[in-house]
Amino acid sequence: MSNNYFNTLPLREQLEQLAKCRFMHMNEFTEGVDALKGKKMVIIGCGAQGLNQGLNLRDSGLDVAYTLRQAAIDEKRQSYKNAADNGFTVGTYEELIPTADIVLNLTPDKQHTPVVTAVMPLMKQGACLSYSHGFNIVEEGMQIREDLTVIMVAPKCPGSEVRAEYVRGFGVPTLIAVHEDNDPQGQGLALAKAYAVGTGGHKAGVLMSSFIAEVKSDLMGEQTILCGMLQTGSLLCFDKMIDKGIDAGYASKLIQFGWETITEALKYGGVTNMLDRLSNPAKIKAFDLSEELKVIMRPLYNKHQDDIINGTFSSTMMADWANDDVNLLGWRAETGETAFEKTPAGDMEISEQEYFDHGILMVAMVKAGVELAFETMTAAGIIADSAYYESLHETPLIANTIARKKLYEMNATISDTAEYGCYLYNHACLPLLGDFMKNIDTDVIGRGLASDDNGVDNARLIEINEALRSHPVEAIGATLRGHMADMKKIV
């Protein structure tokens, strides 16, 4: 069994690593891709991230080739076709790894240990190994040869977006990190920055983080608010609406596209703006529901965070890996059989505002999930910047996958690691919210508040507005969205 790297560190260092996250300034990238110019980059894996990052890097003037296992080449598997049809050199580990100045490991988490174990002996003295997720280093404690530099460059979007934004002349927000135990020549940061420029990430904003902060915050965000809450919320809201006699097509559509619509408001103006989209009585209702949800769900968020920090989560999941993914595959099949998943969205029109007005409970769930995830992460020593990105910032991206093809698309797009965590959350959260849901009716999900009277109590409204606006996720959110806006599209 593997050694959890994080658990080998003294508390002082754990806290220091968890607290790393800084939004980098544009002028830190003036050297462009120079640090990688003329170097040979070999990418392992040619899935969506691998292919699209490679296309960007090559279009930025860098030398990119792909290495695949012999079987994938011989059988001309999809990964081989992806690389070959795009005019890349494709070769086996033995052929290409020894020529590489930098090896980009873009395979799924689950394959990291076998892949890295296989390529490490083939790597040049003093070369660089790059990851896009730190799980292998942090949770599995993979030991990398001392002469090798180890960095992480993680575009915070699906591979297709990484390419699409680059082609537009922009990029996607990207997280970079250097594994300090493996930076023998002190080149790690320069290489990671050049890599981020090569994929276009510097135009959209780069966060300088650590392997540990990335892993612990990423795991927490994806299994709680991002995927877990949206999955649990989808199932509960749908079943409730059907139970209360709402048309199944309408219920399916309200949920499938509702998450995307309401979290779009979140993206622009945080939780405050999302709640501000509701009428005053509905806002008070959503606020009260979310307060109730936070009390019920807080122990669950704490448990997820604790299991992630102490390594229980990763060892449980790795046990499932070792057991041929029995749990993961079983839960995946189970999700495919849920009523929500099997009911197609109706073809009725739902206006943008109606998604808010008829989805008060969904708004409350997003608010509760975002705030809880943020509060739990920061309480565990992850700094606010990281916690913001891994909770509020990514929620609209995941909501977008549900809009495309419901939970199937979400679970297909996210990593197996995220998917596993999502199911864990879902199984715990569904029963946890059982009593709460008994008191829920169509006024907060499906039909909207019955009364035309928009009157509210002044004092109560002021109190709620103040509470919304003074939550710490809103303060850091305003700052970071400000940075992003400087770089972002002039809309």
Partner: protein
């Protein structure tokens, strides 16, 4: 009034061709078009002028009030002839205005009223041919408006009128329009009176478009078309601060050698050579699937196999550490695929400015100079009032026009137009072709033009590359 398949020849050999036009009693028409398009000729046909070559007319009124440069010239000409005929030593003063106006068919009180409104009392006793252009124009107008006509033909009636008279005339016409059909000829839309209900657009002696005033979309398109045809097309200047590196004039712009594009299961292009020299214009054609778009994207760097082919573009041998942005800076590009990808809510002005940065959407702070240039383009396209309007809310044709402006804005050495007229209606197609012709003539940009339609040939393009479907394509 009904004109059917009517072809008419005029004195100078000008012909109206195959006119089909019906004017109903309650309608008021505007005839418009560029100079020399046949606007005045069409109006003159209603007044019975021209020699009918074929076709027929029906229901033309017998009494017509006609104001036009031609009618004015005719009257002055007649006055001059009178003068010539009088072979005495006595200098003829010519016919006084009073006699010109108050003829038998004139409603005297209307005429009197107009004379006082136009403050023309002082010229009644002067000789008509001694009047200034503006004064004689006013006399023509008074005659036309007071002659109890069944139809009024007003050919550029506002020409040479001061603003007061202009307003008076507008008001009077609005009254008249309640009971008399009016046909106006104007080459500016901004003078169009509210009562006009229909618009006829002339081009090269043909009646190209008939549009109802309340069809807003068609009306707006016609407005743009007319604007483009009647404005001296001046391509806005390049931005002197956005420097495109100088190219070696001895080298071709593009040299493709032994090009092969293949996928694991098919060959799209096999062994193609193509060299484009500076200042050459090319038309690229071929059936669907012959690889037109693939070849163009090899040049622009958008096709991944540009790295596995022998491609020399703008001084770069591809695959030697250059970035695609170094290539794209030399290229302006329009295609349906680009329009499909360009789905952003940014403003029309920013869409044009994005051409300086080769980006879809605008991610850089633009300069004031770039904004000015973008505004000049918007003016050229007749969209200056919509500079801050969101791009994705525009009609398809307007989007296409803007993307063409975006492609041209930096005056690129190479402009690639991949079926720029695809999906455009007739009006927008003509707009686009007019713009492209202008670019071809300017000679600082080489154009590659891809299309299927032979009738969309562009003056100035004299090199052709026709692709065939690859034989290996199985």
């Amino acid at each position: 009034m009904l004109l059917q398949d009517l072809s008419v020849e005029f004195d100078q050999g000008f012909q109206l061709k195959q006119i089909n036009w019906q004017v109903e009693k309650q309608q008021h028409w505007l005839i418009t078009g560029a100079n020399g398009a046949g606007k005045s000729a069409l109006a003159a046909v209603l007044a019975g002028y021209g020699e009918i070559l074929s076709g027929s007319t029906g229901g033309l009124p017998s009494s017509i009030g006609w104001v036009s440069f031609e009618a004015q010239a005719e009257l002055i000409d007649a006055e001059l002839k009178k003068d010539d005929a009088d072979i005495t030593d006595v200098i003829s003063l010519g016919t006084p205005v009073r006699e010109i106006i108050f003829t038998d068919e004139i409603d005297r009180s209307t005429a009197q009223d107009l004379i006082s409104q136009f403050e023309l009392g002082y010229i009644l006793d002067r000789a008509f041919r001694k009047l200034s252009t503006g004064e004689s124009r006013k006399v023509m107008i008074i005659r036309a408006l007071s002659c109890k006509a069944e139809l009024l033909i007003l050919d550029e009636p506002f020409d040479g009128l001061d603003s007061n008279t202009h307003a008076l005339l507008q008001a009077h016409l609005t009254e008249l329009a309640k009971h008399t059909p009016i046909v106006m000829v104007l080459n500016r839309f901004d003078e169009i009176p509210d009562f006009v209900s229909h618009i006829a657009y002339m081009e090269n002696g043909e009646l190209m478009h008939q549009v109802e005033r309340n069809d807003e979309a068609a009306y707006a398109e016609l407005y743009q078309l007319l604007h483009l045809k009647t404005t001296q097309l001046q391509i806005p200047p390049a931005d002197t601060d956005t420097v495109i590196p100088a190219l070696n004039p001895q080298q071709p712009l593009v040299k493709l050698s032994n090009i092969c594009v293949k996928y694991t299961d098919m060959v799209l292009i096999n062994d193609l050579d193509w060299t484009i020299e500076a200042n050459q214009h090319w038309q690229l054609s071929g059936p669907n699937g012959s690889g037109k778009t693939a070849i163009l994207s090899l040049i622009t760097g958008d096709h991944p196999q540009c790295y596995t082919n022998d491609i020399f573009v703008f001084g770069f041998q591809r695959g030697n550490g250059e970035s695609i942005w170094q290539i794209k800076q030399f290229i302006g590009y329009v295609s349906t695929a680009l329009q499909w990808e360009y789905r952003v809510g940014t403003s029309l002005r920013n869409v044009i400015i994005s051409g300086f940065y080769d980006s879809i959407g605008l991610y850089s702070k633009s300069t004031n100079r770039q904004k000015q240039i973008a505004d000049q383009w918007l003016t050229l396209l007749g969209m200056q009032d919509r500079a801050d309007y969101p791009f994705n809310k525009l009609s398809y044709g307007d989007q296409r026009l803007l993307l063409i402006a975006r492609a041209m804005v930096k005056h690129p050495p190479l402009l690639i137009l991949d079926e720029p007229c695809l999906g455009l209606d007739d009006i927008n197609r003509q707009l686009v072709l007019a713009l492209i012709e202008k670019i071809c003539v300017s000679n600082e940009t080489s154009v590659i033009y891809v299309n299927h339609h032979a009738q969309d040939r562009i003056a100035g393009i004299d090199n052709y590359l026709a692709l065939e479907k690859s034989a290996d394509n199985s």
